[in-house]
Symmetry: none
Subunit: 418 residues, 2 copies
């Protein structure tokens, strides 16, 4: 069943308001196994709305219209809907009484222009709005069911879940269940993943499971989506998931709603361990991402964020200029865990470089200490400062994840200079 979404309003059309109502409606529909086939935005102009409704009726099996149900002159939805459906507007006395008592219960008198909100196209089914004065309604236009919803987000959300999704499921007849599986990986670019999973893509296609990628640099998301008529996922869902785990291997940093940093915090929590982090030229993002998911503040101890090697030498009283980068990195990782009494010490020290072709990049020195042992790795990422900073942060977090999980510590990643 194909559903179109039509959003009205100058605020949305001109970009002043980001259209989160659209994403909310679409996401809920997809979760319920409906196919969203089209989205449109038009302003508060009669002709534009008219045209968009005609178009929606010719493209989809059902349509959700959002916005334009308010009391002011530029709220045109009911009027245009009646026009397109070639019916008249009729006063819904029940809803008018409802609005009047809504105002009365708040010690106010209903302004005259709110009457407009009780005018519905003839033949409409009224849809209740328990928390506002704009009712929703449903109407057949050229044989397609249209659902009209208010633009206020919390009114829309409630009406969608309580009134409209059940009606859409009735219309569809079958109740479909949607199964979504997501893998987050670091170190494999989209083109390489595409190749590595060619076999999986064929398996998925044969089982009517949709495989897709989304690149959120520096991570890549690999997603499976399937709709079934029973509560259970398709038989092949499990085997295909296993095959993805198999192909992407230890590059997978987390699954579903979990983030890399949540995964790290979970491992620290479960093993009763903690970490202290010293980072240089990463805008403190390694500490800050981990802090955000360490609610009790027990897993990540005091962190040091520095911008120069000189500052670090002073702070840790290291001998100047005598030591090589690997030695400094290891020493700092060890001192970080010792000074803060944490199980692990992670140091991520970076420096910009220019290579022989005068292209810039970042050199990253990674050190992790545990019980006196220190693991070291060096990496080079080419690119702009902001871009490589993101890469360095991810590399640092991933180095920690690999250490905590006993995985290989030196896997090359796609973004790295080999």
């Amino acid at each position: 069943m194909k559903i179109g979404i039509l959003c009205t309003g100058d605020e949305i059309l001109t970009g002043k308001t980001v259209n989160t109502n659209y994403s909310h409606i679409a996401k809920r529909l997809v979760e319920y196994g409906f196919e969203v086939n089209w989205g449109a935005v038009v302003g508060d102009q009669h002709e534009a709305i008219h045209r968009a409704m005609e178009l929606a009726a010719s493209s989809s099996d059902a349509v959700i219209v959002n916005g334009g149900l308010g009391p002011t002159l530029d709220d045109l939805t009911q009027e245009v809907a009646a026009n397109v459906a070639k019916v008249e507007l009729e006063l819904n006395q029940g809803w008018l009484d409802h609005i009047a008592s809504w105002y009365h219960s708040r010690g106010r008198v209903m302004p005259e222009n709110n009457q407009k909100q009780a005018l519905l196209p003839s033949g409409s089914e009224l849809i209740d709005n328990p928390i506002g004065t704009a009712c929703g309604f449903a109407l057949d236009i050229h044989g397609v069911r249209f659902f009209f919803t208010p633009g206020v987000p919390k009114e829309l959300y409630m009406m969608l879940d309580q009134e409209i999704l059940p009606r859409l499921q009735n219309l569809r007849g079958v109740s479909l269940h949607t199964h979504i599986k997501r893998f987050h990986s670091f170190g494999i670019g989209e083109s390489r993943a595409d190749k590595m999973l060619a076999q999986v893509a064929r398996m998925a296609e044969n089982s009517r499971i949709k495989l897709g990628f989304q690149s959120h640099y520096p991570q890549l998301e690999t997603k499976l989506v399937a709709n079934t008529t029973t509560r259970d996922p398709p038989e092949m869902m499990g085997p295909i998931e296993d095959e993805i785990r198999n192909c992407l291997g230890n590059f997978i940093v987390s699954e579903d709603d979990q983030t890399l940093e949540q995964n790290i915090c979970q491992i620290l929590q479960e093993s009763g361990t903690s970490v202290s982090i010293v980072e240089m030229h990463t805008a403190g993002l390694i500490n800050s991402r981990l802090h955000a998911c360490d609610e009790q503040g027990e897993l990540v101890k005091v962190g040091i964020v520095s911008q120069t090697m000189g500052d670090l030498h002073d702070l840790f009283q290291l001998p100047n200029d005598e030591w090589t980068q690997p030695t400094v990195t290891k020493r700092v990782a060890t001192l970080a865990s010792q000074q803060n009494n944490s199980t692990y010490g992670l140091s991520v020290l970076t420096e910009r470089y220019l290579d022989e072709r005068e292209q810039g990049g970042i050199e990253i020195h990674l050190g992790i200490s545990k019980n006196g042992d220190v693991e070291y790795r060096k990496s080079r990422l080419p690119g702009s400062p902001n871009w490589t900073r993101l890469g360095a942060v991810e590399l640092g977090l991933d180095f920690l994840r690999r250490s905590l999980s006993g995985l290989p510590m030196h896997e090359l990643i796609d973004f790295e200079q080999h």
Copy 2:
């Protein structure tokens, strides 16, 4: 001149990604005096994109298409555009060489499927993308100029400003000049700003200058936009700007493209001073925001990010439980500047609280030291942990700005419990 915007991609269609690209494009077009008359979203399906392009060509004077220029199979834009325009795809050797050297300069070999990104509909005008492998292009379809842009936000933003808006202005013939002035303030909510600037709003309206607000919690943006046929801004632009500066006073933290943290770094730079920051329960965001604009790493010295008071007591060897919060805050600010040899020491220490109505919030202790003098301020922000954390970070940065600029240190802000 009416412009349509067509966004492609399953992620956008299904609501997984909120369509901020749309709002960005629309907002820029409106700022430049164009009328956006239509927005649409379709998924990665040939037929749907085809139909949407046909429709766009019949509705608008120019169209901006976003997304679908990547190297993978579900990136269909060039192919469909060629189809709709009834032309063939042609290899653009120049762009292919560009992609190959892009990979080469990063020490990598171009994957074969990236070739696809150099296939353009015959007759297209190539539009440069200086920071990615997806070029943009322009093409006439049924007599309407279409501009094709990549879905990666920073590539889109750059291409829109540098390449597409100038071309649209040429198409329009009249060259309108757009003058934009922005003020960023912290501490004044939108309703209060609306009232404070009522007189300014009237001045602006009389001078055909558009005054608008946009709330990006915890900051508020106040914006003036005017379009003129000459290069000069309207005569009243200057006086109206002064009046806004006058009304919002020391709550203005920066203007135009400058951020609060850039403003702080600029003052530090110009006065040859530096700061060290200790922050607690702020996810390290004060250090991280300042680091991001301290390119040489000379203005912001080593920072400490902590999650518990106990950790700080240990690190700075403070006497346990003997000292009140103000004393600890001041001491930490002083130690921070002493240990790191910086001009200023800033400490931002926060704690969650529950008030008598069992509503939560955050208590913030702010200290700033210079030459042995320490200024202290306490504040309470009600709200959820994430919300108040953002407020605390802004309050800390603003405290530093006020100190650096010799402004009053104790101005109450709207979000604060009075």
